[in-house]
């Protein structure tokens, strides 16, 4: 099928295989002589390993531990602080200490029970609040913006200063397919297959752990049942486990998590605390704002410093705030390490800022949306790091259109009347305004990622896409094939795009940061254009295209100045809720969403991103609750945690605004993460509108609602 407009939807390339259930995910793979692995995990949050007494092993069963690691005993992410097998200190409950490998899972679990490990327990830091109090283990910190001295001076002349603290909880990915990885021993190479987003992250981790050459390891992506960031950094550790084991036992070793293990030991969205200090004049106008972000990094650094960067870079949202200052920290706690999750620090920042702006608006006696609109950034204006918003911004149009469609004012009046007459059920409407910087921060694409893509045309004129990015459900098999096909003027079905294998594909970077369509897609567009120019029928041809950095205001990571992102995607969400003030239950009623993602490469695929991302974002605001007690994650099943079912979600009325970006293929910008960001703040704003009570945390669970209502009643009596 050749579509006239690339946005026109097509049937996804992998649709038929997925519906039939015959696509082999890693847990569907069986190999001759394959063994399973199970991990002995630390039962304590912080302490020293004194002794390990392994169980007596039957024939064919093996122990794999730190002593088997040929290279460095750490998972290569940013800094070498994450052991593959902890052999001296353990830093969180669930940290792997050794692995047992053998044929029968049942036997392995029994053997795990027989192992005896003695620890010397030390005093652990369990919560972010404890860590903030101590401020002894800072994993990363950044500060930028107007000097605090200037801000203090402004504060002195202010009419009032509003100080708020905001908290966000864990969020768990709950990809439907639990993590799984298979290590395969071959004479001349170790092969790792599994569910993953970032093939070359894994490959680099393996080269470091196995102390081997580039051509001695090979990583192949299996069909991947959802990622959302959960399969960005975490799989590198599992890959090291199975690769080391496979090398020792010289057989294939499979490591599969069941759901409870997956919930308890894998990375999550960072819990955060955000402090705001905002100076207002007599009319409620903002004179200055300073923000302090604290992220709970968990026990290892992982990707946390980069998550903090994005949290801070988004901390002023879509607003032009006069005299802005931002500072942030990642703090270590003895809890499961936190990592990448769709939005990557931005959802915390937007939830906090939109909440704060809404509260200030009410203090100023204004409708939150009207108040926030006054501060919207405009094209050409500086970012908080003195970069520029260079491209057109359609936020005003998007808001105005939505208000008209909804008949917003009338609706607010209707809700007010309804609420006056209804003692129990209360209706509310809330808005969130947000953006997402597309691709890696600053010069990351140029300096760290250096993406390369390849198109191969065979003698039979078959075109193959050779990149290292994963289709994990978001649909890049289809969208990227469409881009190549459109350039070549052939039907997209004719483009071949196999699951990537590092032996066969160059490093086009990880499948993260809303970069794949925009950055990798652009490289493929260029490659396809060149292939078309050089096309010789019946001859094998190969086109390689390297990343070219767009000239911007240079990014300086030390001072946090310059253009943090090449482009921004934008969004407006409006959510209507009904709250049962007796039970605290929140029912979503209507959801409206507008987005500027440049240009949709496939409208139906984009709608899938919108609906799925919004469901996650909305649920982050009021449903999904994960907690840790004395370092132990309390939710061991999906139901304990509470992601939405079909009955919790309602139809989402969404609209796209074409705003082509010259640096993206056909004008496309990032979409995957953007769609999650506005959900929680919009739902909070709607609940506040319904109950006329401010909230200072997400998720706003029924318990929190009832507590707040009781507190208000208590205050009214006092």
């Amino acid at each position: 099928m050749i579509t006239k407009d690339i946005s026109q939807s097509v049937v996804k390339k992998d649709h038929v295989d997925k519906v039939a259930g015959q696509l082999p995910y890693i847990s569907d793979v069986k190999m001759e002589d394959m063994l399973y692995g199970v991990l002995y995990r630390s039962p304590i949050a912080y302490g020293k390993v004194l002794s390990i007494e392994y169980p007596i092993l039957p024939e064919g069963y093996h122990v794999i531990g730190a002593e088997h690691i040929p290279g460095g005993n750490f998972v290569k992410i940013l800094i070498p602080d994450q052991p593959i097998f902890a052999n001296e200190w353990v830093n969180y409950i669930g940290e792997p200490i050794f692995m047992l490998v053998g044929k029968e899972l049942e036997v392995l679990y029994q053997l795990l029970d027989e192992a005896q490990v003695k620890f010397e327990e030390h005093e652990a830091t369990y919560t972010l609040d404890d860590a903030i109090e101590k401020m002894t283990d800072v994993m990363a910190t950044h500060e930028f913006g107007e000097s605090l001295q200037t801000i203090e001076e402004i504060g002195k002349k202010a009419y009032q200063i509003i100080e708020e603290e905001y908290e966000t909880g864990y969020q768990e990915h709950v990809y439907l397919e639990p993590q799984g990885m298979l290590g395969i021993y071959q004479e001349d190479e170790i092969q790792v297959q599994g569910s993953m987003q970032c093939l070359y992250y894994i490959k680099n981790a393996l080269i470091s752990a196995l102390a081997c050459d580039d051509d001695e390891v090979r990583v192949i992506q299996s069909p991947t049942g959802g990622g959302f960031g959960g399969k960005e950094d975490f799989p590198s550790m599992m890959a090291c486990h199975v690769a080391i084991a496979a090398q020792v036992v010289k057989k294939p070793v499979m490591l599969l998590f069941d759901r409870s293990e997956d919930l308890v030991v894998t990375t999550k969205r960072h819990p955060s605390k955000i402090k705001y200090k905002t100076a207002l004049d007599r009319d409620g106008n903002i004179l200055s704002m300073s923000t302090e972000v604290f992220l709970d990094g968990g026990a290892n650094t992982g990707l946390s410093p980069v998550v903090l960067q994005r949290a801070l870079l988004n901390s002023a949202g879509v607003y032009k705030i006069p005299h802005y200052h931002a500072k942030g920290y990642v703090l270590k706690t003895n809890t499961v390490p936190n990592g990448a999750f769709r939005g990557f620090g931005a959802p915390q920042s937007f939830a906090g800022l939109e909440s704060h702006m809404g509260h200030i608006a009410r203090i100023a006696g204004k409708d939150p949306l009207e108040y926030k609109r006054q501060y919207l950034v405009k094209q050409g204006e500086p970012t908080i790091t003195n970069g520029r918003f260079r491209d057109p911004i359609f936020m005003e149009d998007m808001i105005e259109d939505l208000l008209k469609t909804l008949n917003y004012k009338k609706k607010k009046e209707e809700f007010a009347r309804f609420n006056q007459q209804s003692p129990r059920f209360k209706k509310g409407i809330g808005t969130s305004l947000f953006l997402h910087g597309c691709g890696f921060t600053g010069s990351g694409e140029r300096d760290h990622i250096k993406a390369t893509v390849k198109l191969l045309k065979t003698k039979d004129d078959q075109v193959l896409v050779k990149i290292s990015n994963s289709d994990m459900g978001q649909g890049i098999f289809t969208t990227l094939s469409k881009i190549v096909a459109q350039e070549l003027g052939v039907p997209y079905e004719e483009i071949s795009f196999p699951y990537p294998d590092t032996k066969d594909v160059p490093d086009s970077g990880p499948t993260v940061a809303s970069r794949t369509t925009m950055i990798v897609g652009k490289l493929l567009e260029r490659a396809a254009r060149r292939l078309k120019e050089k096309w010789q029928s019946g001859v094998e041809q190969e086109i390689v295209e390297d990343y070219v950095h767009e000239e911007m205001i240079p990014w300086d990571e030390k001072t946090f100045s310059g253009d943090a992102y090449p482009a921004y995607s934008w969004g407006v969400n409006i959510v209507e809720v009904e709250v049962d003030s007796f039970t605290g239950n929140v029912q979503l009623e209507k959801i409206h969403a507008s987005f500027d993602i440049g240009k949709a490469i496939d409208e139906r695929i984009v709608k899938g991103q919108i609906d799925g991302g919004m469901a996650q974002g909305l649920a982050y605001g009021f449903m999904e609750k994960m907690t840790s007690k004395q370092g132990r994650i309390q939710q061991r099943s999906i139901t304990d945690y509470g992601p939405p079912t079909a009955m919790d979600i309602v139809h989402i009325e969404s609209k796209l605004y074409d705003n082509p970006y010259a640096g993206g293929p056909y004008g496309a910008k990032g979409v995957g993460e953007l769609t999650l960001i506005g959900g929680a703040p919009a739902v909070q704003s709607a609940i506040e509108d319904a109950l006329a009570v401010p909230f200072y945390q997400i998720p706003i669970t029924p318990e929190i609602i009832i507590e707040s209502l009781e507190k208000r009643e208590g205050e009214a009596v006092d």
């Binding site: 519906v19 397919e177 049942g225 759901r259 469901a615 079912t645």
Partner: protein
């Protein structure tokens, strides 16, 4: 020895009666279409039809299957109803990562065979035992509405 019908053919197994149906399907019969997402009956990725009712195969000990009629996605995919669902899920965009999809298709069949013209609410309830983390469900609901229309008479 336990005897039951699997995808139209009578099968026998001498596996212990406490073995989970999901394991029997995946290990003994090498039917990989039923996926394990939780192993606790919470996600529905392992849904199969037992006597035309949707069931989580991870919760069924095979001893309970004597004399029943079990249909997995592999058997169901040979039916004309499946063809309609396949097409409608494509048109509506109801598939992303695909891990929940076979189970979701089975739940759809169970719903439509009982209620060929369900309301939106009935659809949401009908698939509420099947989790999907990618789509936010709406495009699956659309797919089922479309199937009810297109497949009129089949259910």
């Amino acid at each position: 020895m336990i005897k039951f019908k699997l995808n139209g053919s009578v099968v026998e197994t001498d596996a212990p009666s406490t073995v989970r149906l999901l394991d029997l399907l995946r290990e003994e019969f090498e039917l990989i279409g039923s996926k394990e997402g939780c192993g606790e009956g919470e996600c529905g990725a392992c849904s199969v039809l037992v006597d035309n009712l949707v069931q989580n195969s991870c919760l069924i000990p095979i001893g309970a299957l004597e004399g029943t009629d079990v249909q997995t996605i592999e058997g169901y995919s040979k039916t004309p109803q499946y063809q309609v669902l396949n097409e409608c899920y494509a048109t509506a965009g109801g598939v992303q990562c695909g891990f929940c999809t076979p189970g979701m298709i089975i739940a759809t069949e169970a719903l439509l065979s009982k209620n060929p013209h369900p309301s939106e609410e009935e659809i949401r309830e009908g698939i509420s035992g099947n989790l999907c983390r990618c789509t936010g469900y709406n495009m699956i609901v659309d797919a089922i509405q479309l199937a009810a229309k297109k497949g009129d008479g089949l259910w």
